[in-house]
Amino acid sequence: MPQATADLFSSPCLQFKGSMVPLTTLELLYFEPDKFSEELREKVKQAPNLFHNLPIVVGLEKLAEAHSPLDFSLIQTLCEQEGIRLIGVRTDAPEQTSAAQTAGLAVFQPSRGTRNAEAETPVQEPAPSAATETGRDEAQPQRVANRVITTPVRSGQQVYAPGGDLIVLAPVSAGAEILADGNIHVYAPLRGRALAGVQGNASARIFCQSLEAELVSVAGQYKISEDLQGEHWKQAAQICLDGEKLTIKAM
């Protein structure tokens, strides 16, 4: 028997749950307000729907002058002007942390994945397993948290494989979104959005039987449908990063 409303009110109204929320990161190499605005506007113009009201985090791992505190209020305002919502800063530098907190922003710790990637040489070894790449906690045994989906992922649905690969054995519809910390495999048409390496794993790849996607992204580098039209459209394809550049190859 479902709980009556009266019973409901006598129970707690909130609870905490651990969860992994995928967020787009804006990596800042240096900060120059006019140039920042201009480049941001350019990016937003390419995919207005993608950026509209998009919550983002500024990542400072690659910032040149890592220790002179940034004007986060200004960065926030500039983002807002482009319809983007800056919600936090990813850093472990104490100066930036206090500057971010003063601006009322949340502070995130850099994930091991991104720091490792930085420590490594830019040219990555041929794909180490997703588990070691994205291992988040040293105390955890290295178990690959792959996720297998056997039914269609429909418009409006979102499926995420934290810490591993996502394997989908059915179509991914337009309007659906699939995400993984590791690789994404779709053994059917990929018509929605697919984001691999969402925690920054630059060696993640996307494989699909028929590339008809609205968007593909690896470690934050993305291409939208328009840019995917061409020789690989509706063909079996793999998508991976070649340096900073997202490339599509036949499969």
């Binding site: 429909r154 649905q157 179509p171």
Partner: protein, 277 residues
């Protein structure tokens, strides 16, 4: 509350999009099942916008409605209306004066439980959208007929509804066997498909990946039937009526070939006099 008898089947007629033919389909499928001897009730979940009773020509016999029964203001027997044309069939009309929030989850469950003691098939005519009324119509379903028109926006909305059936229905929430899904393509116009103005059966099947229950052609007979208050399935001269009869047979497990998919070659009289089938 567990259902007492589990012999009855709850089938939701749903789509996401409005105006695609859900109510037309609900009336014809319910009539078709009862014509074949199955005791069937059809429920109008479109609270505030009822029109199932119009299509079934019983609007003047509505005294109590679904919401009255949920609120214990009337018994089921007082609210159920016997169909004019078919034995074995009853209608539970929607209220015109309430809003959709009046359909409480517990109330709907209680009514469905009570109906399943008497009826073999319970057909739920869903309102458009993915709001409360549509969620209530699909929540308890065992099977779903997803009504789709051969155009992109309708297909997209159907895809969304299929996702909801798969994740938010009672069967999904309780980890039972998934809701059995059927695709019903309605208002199909082979000529416009041929001209590239509409998606083909194959296009829609490929996008939605759901077994095809039937294809109902776009047909004047549907409007004629609804104006007369007779579900089109009773008009077995018409293409749409025959297509609905086929769909009902398939719902009952029969294997029938799909018809009315191709552009009709005009016969001699039609060519001469320009009449339409």
């Amino acid at each position: 509350m567990e259902r007492v008898t589990k012999l009855s089947k709850i089938i939701v007629i749903t789509s996401g999009k409005g105006g695609v033919g859900k109510t037309t389909t609900s009336a014809s499928i319910a009539s078709g099942l009862s014509k074949l001897g199955h005791k069937t009730v059809v429920i109008d979940f479109d609270v505030g916008l009822r029109n199932l009773d119009l299509i079934l020509n019983c609007e003047r016999r509505v005294v109590y409605d679904f919401v009255n029964v949920i609120n214990n203001e009337a018994s089921l027997n007082q609210a159920l209306i016997k169909d004019k044309y078919t034995e074995n069939m009853s209608i539970l009309p929607a209220s015109q004066t309430r809003d959709k929030e009046a359909l409480s989850k517990e109330g709907v469950e209680r009514v469905l439980n009570e109906l399943s003691e008497t009826f073999e098939y319970i057909i739920c005519d869903s309102p458009a959208g993915i709001e409360h009324g549509a969620m209530m119509a699909l929540y308890y379903a065992d099977e779903a007929v997803v009504v789709t028109n051969p155009e992109v926006s309708s297909v997209r909305d159907s895809d969304r509804i299929l996702g909801i059936l798969h994740s938010k229905s009672r069967r999904a929430e309780m980890g039972l066997d998934p809701v059995k899904e059927h695709l019903l393509l309605t208002r199909y116009n082979p000529e416009r498909v041929q001209n590239g103005e509409m998606l083909s059966v194959q296009d829609v099947e490929e996008i939605l990946a759901v077994p095809l229950l039937g294809v109902i052609p776009e047909s004047k007979s549907v409007l004629t039937a609804s104006n007369q208050g007779v579900p089109v399935i009773h008009d077995q001269q018409s293409d749409a009526g025959q297509a609905y009869a086929d769909a009902v047979a398939r719902l009952l497990g029969e294997d029938r070939e799909h018809r009315f998919l191709d552009v009709q070659k005009k016969g001699f009289f039609q060519r001469v006099f320009g009449g339409k089938a």
